[in-house]
Amino acid sequence: MFTIDTAAIAAQVRDAIVETSRNMEPSCLAALEKARDAEDVPAARFALTKMCENARFAAQNGYPVCQDTGMCVVFVEIGKDVALTGKLLQDAIDDAVKDGYADLRKSVLDPVTRVNTGTNAPAVVHTDFVPGDEVKVSVMLKGFGSENMSALYMLNPAQGLETAKDLIVRTVADAASNPCPPVIVGVGLGGTFELCAKMSKQALFRRIGSSNPDPLLDELERELMTRINSLGVGAQGFGGKTTALGVFIRKYPTHISSLPVAVNILCHCSRAKIAVLSKEGVRYE
């Protein structure tokens, strides 16, 4: 049994907020630099050049990469042989959000009154129980220019995977310049309405350039990447070769009556970190 205080989990969240707000996720920056070097459309190349300069400038000076430091989304995977002590996990994480966002923009408010909470709390926290005796904490600072362009479709089985593919591509096309492309596309296939959306968010934690371990999904990801990058939306919607840096899919069995499809869009500025806590200490994935 691994016993851990929720404050230790929260400390990882706080550190991730402070670090990732100033440092674009490294595989994302590498992909942007590659896209910049390959781009022929002048305005798109200009945009990609500025995006790369911005990431470097932010890291060097400790400034937030983007002023939209997002809403904090945390996935906590808790091993079945883990015992949590201390505060309620949500409360501990919210304390970490208040602390981590002290110098950042407060973008979180009440949806009805539109009154700002003033702290960027609460975080959106998802918990899952998994085998083992470790706790995996995946933290993302999610901007809403891209979140607003995301979509969920409940297809019927007759529409099938071909319609799903068309809708995924169309969602990125319709989002156009709004989500600050080149985007990263998280896709959920199957499950229920809410699980499908959750999977599409979780998929966004994959590193750019990584393959899907499922060969069928890997092939699907490659096909969607090719189609999306043929759209001509390009960096900032200025045209050119690169509309997406990655397409990542997760699936789950679904009902005989349905094919849920969720598309969660992330901007070119991925700010995410994964920490794994165990008896041996902390490691980062």
């Binding site: 002048p42 305005a43 945009a47 500025k50 400034y63 002023q67 923009r105 220019g145 200025f238």
Partner: protein, 175 residues
Amino acid sequence: MSEIRLTMPFDKTELAALKVGDGVLLSGTMLVFRDAGHKRLFQSIEAGKPDFEYDGETVYFMGPCPAVKGQVMGSCGPTTSGRMDKYTPYMFDHGLAAQIGKGKRSPDCIEAIKRNKGVYFAAIGGAGALYSGAVTAVEEICYPDLGTEAVRRITVKDFPAIVAIDSRGRCIYNN
């Protein structure tokens, strides 16, 4: 791409000469506000007297991060302009010179920009840190209670942007 250097407030002739896709480096002063600031301004307009004037000005759609050591203003990249589309034709019809934001605009906005020989510039979304380096002065103008959404006047030097809609209504995005 060689960028065109321009000073704000704009000379109308210089503005009219810009072509869609041109890269620019902007210097001078502009007004900064976004969703809540527009909503409040239009409430004052409907009540008979605008809370502040914007004749000849450029409006940048942005809500900054707090400034930290060494900064005049915190990270300050553009937000999505489309959310301000409903306010835009009126503002161009009442003297606004230009807007800066990110993303495509409604046909009504494009028409208003053309009708008034204005320009819409696209700043690089996500490049917030880089833009903070271009800000040399900040002054709060209105609605301080709106926090990051308050109305500010900022002075910038060599602020990079692209002409996204020019004064002839030509647009960089595939609408």
